[in-house]
Amino acid sequence: MFRRLPEDARALVTVEVEGRTVAVPAGSSAAAAALIAKLGYTRTSPATGEKRAGYCFMGVCFDCLMVIDGEPSQQACLVTVREGMRIERQLGARRLG
């Protein structure tokens, strides 16, 4: 469904999406990195177990929550990629302990 614009000539940054190394344009969001990696769903709902992914991509819907560099409940659409960033699905409710 999503394609990168052909004229995108930005430098690439290497991130890890669910353990897979992916090169994405600098300045992309972590949510965009998940799309580029064709990850599909990016979390499961703690209430229903349903598979979900980013919806608004502008910080409003909170459907894009992921674990980024080990920190849960990050809005992936608002986080800009950095070299070596670890981006993981958030499965169910987060554990505090």
């Binding site: 703690p46 209430a47 409710a93 987060r94 554990r95 505090l96 302990g97």
Partner: protein, 371 residues
Amino acid sequence: MRTYDAVVIGGGIVGAAIGYGLAKRRVNVAVLDEGDTALRAARANFGLVWLQSKGDGMPAYGHWTRRSTELWPDFAAELADATGIRTEYEKRGGLVICLGEAELESRRQLALRLHNQAAVYDTEVLDRAALQALVPKMRLGAEVTGASYCPHDGHANPLLLLKALHAALKSHVAAYLPDAPARAIAYRGGSFTVETPAGPIAAARVVLAAGHGSAALAPALGLSAPIRPERGQILITERLDHFLPLPASGLRQTADGTVMIGATHDNPGFDVSTTADASAKLAHRAVRIAPDLARARLVRTWAGLRVLTPDGCPIYMESATCPGAFLAICHSGVTLAAVHAVDLAGAIADGALPARLAPFHPGRFDVSKAA
């Protein structure tokens, strides 16, 4: 003119529970409510079904609350059967978690004092180790000294409770009429006429249970509603893996995993705005109790107005000048929902309040009478 056996004014938790109880007894009842912008404590509360702190100075309130905690399991099951809506009621006991020795000692004193007034609480004071055994997955803050524990306490989802009560009214062919506030009530020849924007409604009985709306309507019916608003603010976290298996006063984890942190007490009048100061206070105490909460994200905060009487205990009365007019006010509408639906509605259906409800008459606030 539409005519009913009884009209309940107010469709919050108190009015809806009484209306449901009347409808179950085949009283032809209508419940009048306002619209979405009304002040509705029923939609802002914490969801505790709570005995352990109730009734200091008024043993009748302790007995009445204990009775409700006994009725709640069947009440919840019955609502689920009638409507398919589960209220998420659980009765695993409840905690008041203490920071420092002084707080624990004052809980111990309160438990003793309450027990001496009414032997209904069965509250135990737990030291830190005993508390930890009840909540093995929760890391306790260094200052936590223990908790009081009452086995009769529990919690429910207050929004689902209200939804279930409204649905149950319909399943008993009672009328729930939103956007139909009572503007005025007249009593003539043994019957009441209630003026609403949807036209007048006649009934042989009127139950005034309109929360803060009761103050304006009470005098014309010979009822007395000396109430004031007290604001309470609550914080809600994101859904977390379950770590709190039983509710604590001020800290409860819902069936969905969100944690509710509450509630403050202040008196800004009819103001339901939230303040950063209150949020900070609530968050600070919660983190002293459970330090891992510092990493949880807050997703919502809200404020509601408690419907408070001068002594904090409920008011129930029947009018002496307009027989058939009843008043019900309380600030524990969730806790008392079961006893309101069963005992109070039963008494109203029978036409008189029983002697054990006499202590709740507002005559107790009349100083000249008490002197």
